[in-house]
């Protein structure tokens, strides 16, 4: 069907589509992951101890996925966070297990943004080549309980200068990929009093340093998070990333980027869950009909679409704004709040449709999608946390602009219910 064309031309902005390069990246990733990141592999990694496949890590280095957002001078290809979001969509789709977020984004981009030239020149190419795995050690046992896990105010792990070193003391928890990391990017408190954000310093800590101990936690999604105890660990001063007491700003920036990329991964997972569910609704026969003929089933599928689509839009908007260097606090917080909840709901709806089959852990990946969504919801700020960030933006809203026309008193005296004054004139006239 062709539509009448009322309008003369198209506008190039407010564009919801991805560009040609992004489409290519997406297709390559889709093909690669379909072949390499099989259901079997995902299961193996889930139940294994490493939590990732070193072999695939190598392969994605070859595909340039590890340097996608780094400048060419460090071996990267200079892509944007939006490009990376496209890739994360595909990784989320297959639940590709890897320390990409920890290494490339949370630690790597922090180094890129805050590190000195020497650090960048040394570390970033290694990341790009797949030779280095990093892990962000931020959250702590107390702060994770008290609700300020992602705030500077929650940091109590302390770094104290001692000659050419700093000595780090305290416990981090829920540290993703710590067990396989070469370095930990440790967020430490280096000043008392004042705004806590002004007293945070980042340290690159050799993961094999003496007096660090690791304990793997056992989590819903079987992803690998650790408790990491720093028992007076000595770190050379040159391992400080950025200036003393200036660590929070670059960290906050990568956490926003990370949050949006988590959303992108959730969106990719949601797309897959939607496909699985609709496919099941169309092919599962009960009472001589595909179950998708039932409105109860349709309802779940319809809301699944809306959860996934809306998540995609809020996520891409946030990723695009980051990529454009535009203010994005509001959009990132909205993306993480909405998407975290929406994809959890989406998985729940899929379970309603797929019932018994969706419940088994050996005949499909739905349980794992459900559990991954939960972890991703919690990571880098849960819904409640980001909702408060949204609220802080509302705090800053100016008073709504008021019109300037003459006051007319049109609303003062009359309720709007019943039959309007003009009606009789019209109906009888």
């Amino acid at each position: 069907m062709t539509w009448a064309k009322f309008t003369t031309e198209r506008s190039r902005v407010m564009d919801f589509s991805i560009n040609e390069q992004q489409k290519m990246l997406k297709q390559v990733a889709r093909d690669f992951l379909k072949k390499e990141c099989t259901e079997t592999l995902v299961r193996e990694i889930e139940s294994g101890d490493e939590g990732y496949s070193p072999e695939l890590w190598r392969k994605i280095a070859d595909l340039e996925w590890l340097g996608l957002v780094y400048p060419e001078k460090y071996g990267g290809t200079g892509g944007s966070i939006l490009d990376l979001a496209v890739l994360y969509g595909e990784m989320g789709r297959t639940m590709f297990p890897s320390p990409h977020l920890s290494t490339v984004v949370l630690c790597g981009l922090a180094i890129l943004n805050a590190g000195n030239e020497e650090q960048k020149a040394e570390l970033l190419p290694k990341i790009v080549n797949g030779d280095l795995i990093l892990a962000l050690a931020l959250t702590e046992p107390e702060s994770s309980w008290d609700g300020n896990a992602w705030d500077a105010g929650g940091v109590t792990v302390r770094a104290t200068p001692d000659g050419d070193n700093y000595v780090i003391e305290g416990t981090k928890i829920f540290v993703h990929d710590a067990h396989i990391a070469d370095y930990l990017l440790c967020v430490a408190k280096t000043r008392d009093g004042g705004n806590p954000e002004g007293g945070i310093t980042l340290f690159l800590v050799d993961a094999k340093s003496p007096r660090i101990s690791y304990t793997l936690l056992d989590t819903t999604a079987g992803d690998k998070q650790s408790e990491v105890i720093f028992d007076n660990v000595r770190v050379p001063k040159k391992n400080m990333v950025g200036e003393l007491n200036s660590g929070w700003a670059p960290l906050a920036e990568v956490m926003q980027q990370g949050a949006v990329l988590l959303c992108a991964a959730m969106v990719g997972a949601g797309e897959k869950v939607l496909e699985m569910t609709v496919e099941y609704a169309k092919t599962r026969i009960q009472f001589e009909q595909p179950i998708g003929i039932n409105q109860y089933v349709q309802e779940q599928c319809v809301y699944l679409v809306s959860e996934v689509d809306c998540s995609r839009w809020v996520t891409y908007q946030a990723a695009w704004r980051i990529s454009q260097g535009l203010p994005c606090d509001y959009e990132v917080a909205i993306a993480k709040t909405w998407t975290s909840n929406a994809i959890e709901r989406a998985c729940w709806r899929a379970h309603q449709v797929m019932a018994g089959v969706g419940y088994t852990t050996d005949r499909g990946l739905l349980p794992l999608y459900t559990k991954r969504a939960k972890t991703q919801q919690l990571y880098l700020g849960d819904s409640a946390y980001h909702l408060e960030k949204v609220a802080r933006q509302l705090d800053k809203w100016p008073a709504p602009e008021m019109p300037k026309g003459k006051a007319l008193g049109l609303w003062e005296k009359v309720e709007y219910l019943g039959t309007p004054e003009w009606y009789e004139r019209f109906a009888k006239g």
């Binding site: 003369t8 933006q393 309720e415 003009w422």
Partner: protein, 414 residues
């Protein structure tokens, strides 16, 4: 991908914005402007203000910016149109001629003769007329094709008999856009035609239907004689014409903008008003409620713009398989309105004109309006459409419905 606008587009937005800032009265309230410009413009004063504003906007081409200049438009693109609609929505303005703009206009563009276009489009674009969309009947609600209003040819004319109901009355109508049965065939969709009928010809009468919020009418057709050129498009293709036109109703950037303005006013109220000595916005529950609504409003905004973008790109992308705007609005709107009302405790029940009312009773009005939000079809019909067109889930076709209906009857008779 792009989530912003060009400088020129922003200039246009500012121009529209200024238009409203200058034209709307000082004592404006987002929650009530609708009363003047749509809903039920209640008093004669409200009606004349609304019509005067509409004509001013029409003169500037703001009503139908996407239509060609010969039809009274500005020949702008769909995206600019989206911006103008959004800005209009932000101020809570819904034009009395909105159905003329959103439904009759597109149908005329798609299916009208040159003469019909020349005759009907410019007055719509200039905001000089009011159109009703007379579609629903007592037995044709969700089942839109079950129309019984009948047109029988008689010489050069048609004679219309029957009834329409729940017709939104945005002021005294000039014309009716109406779906009429012109043949008794099966499937019943194939015997309907669209007619453009002057609102005040002999034989047409009206009866008011007071509603929970807003105002609708019954329209009775009693041997109404209209000339044959009142037919819009092909005879007996009216249902399909109407469905094709429906696409134009489905994109909209105004809904979220309206919600946004409303939220802005409520946030401001919560900053200025104290509870137990502290600004309301510092109350954790209020805070959470407002932020959650802000999130949903942003989602709604993107739904609207996604629809607009898709519409603009339709030649490249094909017809839009589904539009989530209505689903989101009808899913979250009732919950939001309840949460807002709950924030006000006992004061939530006070209506606009009550002594002691807070926030001008806007929460009460909104709550009441959202108790029964079925404009444009129930949310259930919306889900049926998405399941069918969007997801290709098995569909109960018309033919199948007839089979089932028959079997159910037989079974009941057993």
């Amino acid at each position: 991908m792009d989530f912003e606008f060009t400088e020129e587009q922003e200039k246009l937005r500012k121009e529209i914005h200024e238009f409203f800032v200058n034209e709307l009265p000082l004592d404006y309230r987002a929650g009530f402007i609708e009363v003047v410009t749509r809903g039920a413009p209640f008093t004669e004063e409200q009606l004349s203000f609304g019509m005067a504003l509409q004509k001013k906007a029409g003169k500037k081409g703001y009503l139908a910016p996407g239509w060609g200049k010969e039809s009274g438009g500005l020949g702008l693109t769909d995206m600019e149109q989206g911006i103008i609609i959004e800005e209009t929505g932000y101020w809570g303005v819904v034009w009395p001629v909105s159905l003329g703009l959103g439904v009759c206009g597109p149908a005329l563009h798609l299916f009208g003769t040159e003469e019909q276009k020349r005759k009907f489009l410019p007055p719509i674009a200039r905001g000089e007329v009011i159109w009703y969309q007379a579609q629903t009947e007592p037995d044709a609600g969700s089942d839109e094709a079950n129309v019984q209003l009948r047109a029988v040819p008689d010489g050069d004319d048609y004679i219309l008999n029957g009834q329409k109901t729940f017709i939104s009355a945005t002021g005294p109508a000039d014309y009716l856009y109406t779906l009429v049965r012109t043949a008794d065939v099966k499937p019943k969709h194939r015997g309907l035609s669209l007619f453009l009928v002057p609102a005040k010809v002999p034989g047409i009468s009206y009866r008011p239907i007071p509603c929970m919020s807003g105002f609708t009418v019954d329209i009775f057709f009693d041997d109404v004689r209209v000339p044959k050129d009142s037919l819009l498009g092909q005879l007996n293709r009216g249902f399909y014409h109407a469905m094709a036109t429906f696409e134009f109703e489905r994109s909209g950037t105004d809904d979220a903008a309206r919600s946004k303005r409303y939220l802005e006013e409520l946030v401001q109220f919560c900053k200025e008003t104290k509870r137990n000595g502290k600004p309301l916005i510092e109350d954790p529950k209020v805070r959470e409620t407002l932020a959650q609504i802000a999130v949903e409003t942003e989602v709604e905004r993107l739904c609207g713009w996604h629809g607009q973008w898709y519409f603009a790109e339709r030649e490249k992308l094909g017809p839009q398989p589904y539009n989530l705007l209505e689903l989101i609005f009808k899913t979250y709107g009732p919950i939001q309105s309840k949460k807002m009302m709950d924030m006000f405790g006992l004061y939530g029940q006070l209506k606009k004109l009550s002594p002691r009312v807070k926030f001008e009773g806007q929460v009460e009005r909104r709550w009441e309006a959202m108790r029964s939000a079925h404009g444009g079809g129930t949310i259930e019909i919306n889900k049926v459409v998405i399941a069918d067109r969007g997801l290709g889930l098995p569909r109960i076709s018309t033919r199948l419905r007839e089979v089932i209906g028959q079997a159910v009857k037989e079974e009941a008779a057993r």
